[in-house]
Symmetry: C2
Subunit: 278 residues, 2 copies
């Protein structure tokens, strides 16, 4: 089954658009964890066990693992999800992008080594840098469009014939790159007007939405701007606000409560939610 | 000493603008190597020993290591250069780019874990995604501007007020991002006209130049387009054409010959080369 078909099932199954971002920062783990790479695996497992029935996806951020030589723990985190909660799609947040021969190696890293169901990609280098990922028809390729950070506009907002770059990127991907129907876009929660415009360009293409939680994007405005007619279309990612909701031994309970709160806040604004919860 | 000061010394010392790109692909190593991650370390060591007096820099491409779980061998490759040839700068080719808190982790990966002297970065996400790298004043930050690949123009050539994106990026970096004088740009050898224009915008800012060798950019045209008045300003990277020049046990001898040939071809077109060789 393709990534997007799996994602649709996952949205339904848990009645949730929430994605928990796994950004395990040793300096922020509860104090009962030792400062070792194995602690982030143990931390991730507790977070996953406490939230698996509340999310549509998990998104490990590879930088947090690479900074402390914890590639093995990233593999083990993904293996843990695949073994225990195989229905939940895993998006590797890596924002890779390089020329074709190197991009093939990055695709091997994401899809073979880590066995991720989808990976984030930077489109700046153009089609041939994305193609080695796009050819994996059953995986998702999540391309940066309008990111959530304060400097996003430095390049993405430059106007080409009166139209910002990020809209050109959205059109390019929709019209030319999405031949295998496996593209998604990163659209930050912090820019609801832009999100609404991008939605009008790309049809039902799913958005990975960072920027709620620690980054401060308003949930209701964003859901109304970005959802599809059936009340889905969004993978709303929160990392730090969930992972560090508590800092005691009960951190996973606090993370669960925060995830429920985000899921329910989001669901208030959805056009349609699954009958069992409506 | 800063990265750019070290680079200037290195250009002089070996009278060379050549950078050997370390893209060790197990499927292309000479047949006497076993297909193991340790083989790429052994391969890299022979390449380095055979070329250290001919180059201004080495550029390991992290994707080739990550695809086969060879992070340890990447660390060991860099350690080997630092130990034996400490005067030669090392550019980690990683093309990272993410929001601030994640970018800090990527900077830790490149500059602390791997101890690289410089790293390549994708500017699409804007200033705050580059700042965590830029604050390392003694390291180099090599930002994608006009890349060498065929699809480079998909986004980089879009015209903003009649000026292509890559020129806006060059201006932005020169005027706003280069406050610590540690920025460099990636400019592909395959686009000499664009390189010449970028040189006119950025003054003496060094260029990392992929695209000679396997990618086919013409050396003379490119050197004339991109060099600074003193005959430097370019880090001309060749990977596959050097690494796989031979495929027997004498591959390192073939790599050395290919590196000499590239160095000498480049030096024919330089405005000034060091007195000892001129």
């Amino acid at each position: 089954m393709s990534f997007i078909e799996n994602l649709k099932k996952s949205w339904q199954q848990n009645n949730s658009l929430v994605c928990v971002g796994l950004d395990p920062d040793l300096s922020r783990l509860p104090s009962h964890f030792e400062k070792t790479a194995d602690s982030i695996l143990a931390f991730n497992k507790e977070i996953i066990d406490a939230t698996h029935d509340l999310v549509c996806a998990y998104k490990p951020q590879i930088a947090y693992f690479a900074a402390i030589s914890a590639e093995k723990q990233l593999e083990q985190t993904i293996d843990y999800i695949k073994l225990n909660y195989p229905q939940i799609p895993i998006i590797l947040d890596a924002k890779r992008g390089d020329i074709g021969s190197t991009a093939e190696m990055y695709a091997t890293e994401a899809f073979s080594r880590y066995n991720a169901d989808a990976v984030t990609i930077n489109p700046y280098m153009g089609y041939d840098s994305a193609e080695p990922f796009l050819r994996y028809k059953d995986r998702g390729v999540v391309l940066l469009c309008r990111t959530s950070n304060s400097g996003a506009g430095d390049i993405q907002d430059l106007l080409v014939d009166g139209v910002p770059i990020y809209e050109h990127v959205a059109k390019l991907i929709t019209e030319k790159w999405n031949i295998n129907n496996n593209c998604l876009l990163v659209v930050g929660a912090t820019w609801p007007d832009q999100m609404s415009k991008i939605r009008s360009i790309v049809g039902d293409m799913p958005f990975l939405v960072p920027g709620v939680g620690a980054q401060g994007g308003d949930v209701g405005t964003m859901v109304k701007a970005g959802q599809t007619n059936d009340g889905t279309g969004l993978i709303i990612s929160s990392s730090r606000a969930i992972l560090y909701a508590g800092n005691g031994v009960d951190f996973a309970t606090a993370a669960r409560a925060e995830t429920i709160s985000l899921r329910d806040t989001i669901n208030q604004f959805r056009n349609v939610i699954s009958p069992s919860l409506s």
